[in-house]
Symmetry: C2
Subunit: 387 residues, 2 copies
């Protein structure tokens, strides 16, 4: 299966020794990847990482879609021993047990961790795409992952699992390739974005675009719109976490005198310092154009586009077992949207387990709340291993 | 009582024919207004409007503090027949009935609708203060209103009522001048800002400060940081309203083709258009430096500064009757913060009525939800008229 793996002499930035690449054969082997909302990408590459061993009959594959921010590095490995974004969840003896399962995490098409994205070179022009990159849809993310797996010789999934944006991608995958998905896990996802969430993301995008350094997407790699990205990320962090968590964690604590800025409106409270630190850390790793495309893909996604209504779209899913997880403190993908997914699949006559967790960490709970998430995921994967 | 009213030959911008002014005599008649966190303002002016008739024994005065955004124009009048920000609440026969009460609404110190603010001329330099304006505190807002009333010959309030930032101002007023406040109404306020709310406001301020046109507060009046103000206001609007309201109102409706921008990331959804329209409308009226100072004053305010704890601060309030109103969908000043106010005053042995409304309009409900708010306020003011 490594025959179709791309040998990348010069690995794209923001990848590691653990990153592997598939050069997609394209739709029907044409080399062209036709985008869901129009436009064509050529020579598409999907970056991924994998853990565990593929079984002889290929019946133990778990495909993982992450959120907007992370790379394919969900978990550490010999090639890259640094902690992955879902380190507690994937690995030998862990809830998604790589002693049993072969786990693949793809870097989302359009993201900046090795998959083809707006910062990739357009073979037609020999320039980076920038905003000439075509409209990106969640359906493109699902299709590109499907192409990657096919090109790797994998035509069937034991489970597709996704969280946040990855939950949308996994929803798209499960309804676009229903015969190839035995089990389905969606966490803090949505069938479609609602206006509050659209407003948050739209404002993030506008903040980035208002940074003069953005330059309509034609910024040099060392002159990225950092200021706009920092502000947008702060807004993101505010939407990812929960007010009560911050109340318990920071309350009204002030930063120490030596960390306080002289600026009259500079950082004074610990919560401001926390946001500032994390936003700056993030923007060192992420490309602004990728952020815009991925963010908008979430706004545009609508399960109702697949059959005329949300329930008609969900009815396409044929998984033997579905697990839907929602978090009560999530303001970005609220629990009523998780129930909508569970109810729709159930209505179509498929078994669904709906779990609502009272994690305090808001939308980001799946990343940090091992205590609540690990047992639920472990039980699902243990129960369905030979199923 | 008009003897101390300032004759303003050149009315400041952003005032109308209905705006009246008091040139404060200053602390102890010195002309100096000493600020709560240090610094002195000279020649402070407070803009206000009033409705109704002052009774002979001055026992019918209602002082109204508004939120961050509005002017003193809470209600229409002959001088300014345009609708005020609380038009449904104040007027003849209305819940705060100007056939009975003499209602004064002050423009907050630091705001840009006629009261002394960062855009005022510093008499020491003959330049606009800009960021040389001293730190503004909610306590300064309360004290300046108190000075204004004293200079107008009013030394006692039937009721002080405030909403949002004005709720904080009314809290400060009631605990700083306990002997002069007979009744107290606070709506969607807080004894202190919690970290989620601090984060929202801190990010708004940073967005404004990141606009190159902000120029560290030294912008010309025709070169204001409009782009930053628009972005900050959009974030404000998102925090003022409620997700469910927008879900019902906009859902995923798209703007019509002719209103759609050509920009790949331009406005597509009605909710984006709504935010854009309202944010642009707002920034035409509001000064960026005022926004920064008022916003930060809310972060800094803490009832616990008055006595060592929130309850010790609340215990200073001596009002015969207090009405505390909270709204269940308010994410900025959540109901647990309203209960904290009510519980603290009750614990000190004063009568409190706590009303929790299920308005759908979030923090802004008091502005728009006449159906829920009017009866509660009407009943309070009717019951306490001769009390």
């Amino acid at each position: 299966m490594s025959t179709s793996t791309l040998e990348v002499s010069q690995a794209p930035v923001r990848t590691t020794a653990a990153t592997k690449f598939v050069a997609l054969k394209g739709d029907y082997g044409t080399g062209d990847f036709v985008m869901h909302r129009g436009g064509i990408l050529k020579e598409v590459v999907i970056a991924y990482e994998s853990w565990g061993t593929l079984s002889n009959n290929h019946d133990n594959v778990v495909l993982v879609f992450g959120g907007l921010s992370p790379s394919a590095h969900a978990c550490s490995s010999e090639q890259d021993p640094s902690k992955g974004w879902w380190e507690y969840m994937i690995g030998p003896g862990k809830p998604i047990d790589t002693d049993k399962y072969y786990v693949i995490c793809v870097n989302t098409l359009g993201s900046c961790f090795g998959s083809t994205s707006p910062s990739s070179i357009n073979p037609d022009t020999n320039q980076a795409y920038g905003l000439d990159f075509p409209d990106l849809s969640i359906e493109d993310v699902a299709k590109s992952a499907h192409h990657a797996l096919q090109d790797l010789g994998i035509d069937h999934l034991h489970t597709v699992v996704g969280s946040s944006m990855g939950g949308m991608s996994s929803l798209a995958y499960a309804l676009m390739y229903p015969d190839e998905v035995d089990h389905f896990v969606t966490i803090s996802a949505a069938t479609r974005a609602l206006p509050f969430t659209i407003a948050v993301r739209s404002l993030q995008r506008e903040i980035i675009r208002c940074d003069p350094a953005f330059n309509n997407g034609q910024y040099a790699q060392d002159e990225e719109p950092t200021s706009g990205m920092v502000l947008a990320r702060k807004l993101g962090l505010m939407s990812y976490r929960a007010a009560e968590e911050w109340h318990q964690r920071f309350n009204r604590a002030r930063v120490s005198a030596e960390r306080k800025s002289d600026d009259r409106f500079g950082i004074e409270f610990e919560v401001e310092s926390y946001l500032d630190y994390n936003a700056h850390k993030f923007v060192k790793t992420f490309d602004a154009n990728s952020y815009l495309y991925l963010s908008r893909a979430m706004d545009l996604f609508d399960v109702a586009d697949h059959g005329g209504s949300v329930n008609a779209g969900l009815a396409k899913i044929q998984a033997k077992n579905t697990l839907v997880i929602g978090v009560e403190t999530d303001i970005l993908f609220p629990v009523h949207q998780q129930r909508e997914i569970a109810d729709g699949i159930k209505k179509a006559g498929r078994p669904v387990e709906y779990v609502q967790l009272d994690s305090i960490n808001g939308h980001d709970s799946f990343l940090v709340d091992e205590e609540h998430f690990a047992p639920v995921i472990r039980e699902f994967f243990e129960r369905n291993f030979n199923n």
